[in-house]
Symmetry: C2
Subunit: 189 residues, 2 copies
DNA sequence: CGCACTTTTTGACTTTTGTCAAAAACATTC
DNA sequence: GAATGTTTTTGACAAAAGTCAAAAAGTGCG
């Protein structure tokens, strides 16, 4: 799907507005493994994932590669905290699969916002989705054990487990790969 | 401060708009220990904290009292996920100190939004703050040890440590009270 | 198929955090 | 200031998760 299609499912948008979005949005293709946004740079783009899978990750104090979040098709994403605070992004964004994205400069998006107030609603809606998923994440990290977190993932986003290596999932869940492997063999029984 | 004062620091608001907010907003006082919103009910209000300290908590599977979040003066808050999804709130909101709040019904807020589009900006801004703080929280839970989380809290929100008992802080950090007590005596050295 | 490479699992051990209960410290009230 | 209740610390032990390294399994390719 194209971003305007998804957006207009949230609120109906005028033809003008959709056209303006289309004009400012650029479709880009990334091959598996390529870096879409490098850490250390302020993130100035909004991304919409048409197909593929993205991973936010960074290198912790021991230079270990830690996954912060995955984003799959039909989602909007960006390193929002980097943009909002105009500070360098902690995260790299990497394509885990060949991915087709629509890219929009944040500055252009803001111009669109003031030109088409109807966009405020979809903006709210996107922020809200971010917020709800962040809250879910906090609850899972604060209250659940490694095993429970794995089970939750298995229930709620089983497709990710198919598409991503265990090491990435382990760091995403905040646990050690060996531990995750053990949890998993236990869960299988 | 009053909510309109804080809001107009974000974006200047028209006198009309401020007056409309004032009219729909009700000031309420809660004594220490009282429940502002009970879990199990959909949360239909926005709260602005003029003074005092609030705590979101809930009872986990073993009926243990677990703190999800603290909110201090000059902040807006609400059980947003409950409102957004129209599902019962997981959390109770409790006044940890005698607190003075301004309360606004969500439905009224939404009416204000459509009447005064200028409010979209402040709404974005509030959502954004929520989001940034949620992200901080995730990072802290995902990547830091119990001791580091305590040190972070000590650096970033030392006042909370003065105002709240250790048990609440422990559950907020996702660790056991005894563990926190030990960490603390170690940090003091 | 066989080789090189990557990912996952397993074993032995360590560290971190949790549990439960009692003691100590602190507060409050009469 | 003794008595009561609450919160914090501590001790002894248990469980969960991490570490490191090697073995096993899986993948891709000439």
């Amino acid at each position: 799907m194209k971003p305007t299609e998804v957006l207009s499912q949230i609120t109906p948008l005028s033809a003008d507005c959709m056209q303006a979005i289309d004009e400012l949005t650029e479709q880009k293709h990334y091959t598996k493994g390529s870096i879409i946004h490098p850490s250390g740079k302020v993130c100035k783009h909004l991304y919409f994932i048409e197909s593929g899978l993205l991973r936010f990750f960074y290198h912790d104090r021991d230079a270990k590669d830690v996954t912060y979040q995955f984003f799959g098709e039909n989602l909007f994403t960006s390193v929002i905290n980097s943009y909002y605070t105009q500070t360098p992004s902690l995260y790299n964004i990497e394509a885990m699969e060949d991915s087709s994205l629509y890219v929009l400069r944040f500055a252009d998006f803001e111009a669109l916002l003031s030109r088409f107030p109807e966009l405020d609603k979809v903006y709210h809606s996107v922020l809200r989705e971010f917020l709800l998923s962040a809250e879910q994440r906090i609850i899972s990290l604060q209250f659940y054990s490694a095993e429970e977190r794995y089970r939750n993932l298995l229930e709620n986003q089983p497709s990710i487990l198919q598409r991503v290596s265990l090491g990435h999932i382990a760091s995403y869940l905040g646990i050690n790969q060996a531990t995750l492997s053990r949890v998993r063999s236990k869960v299988r029984l």
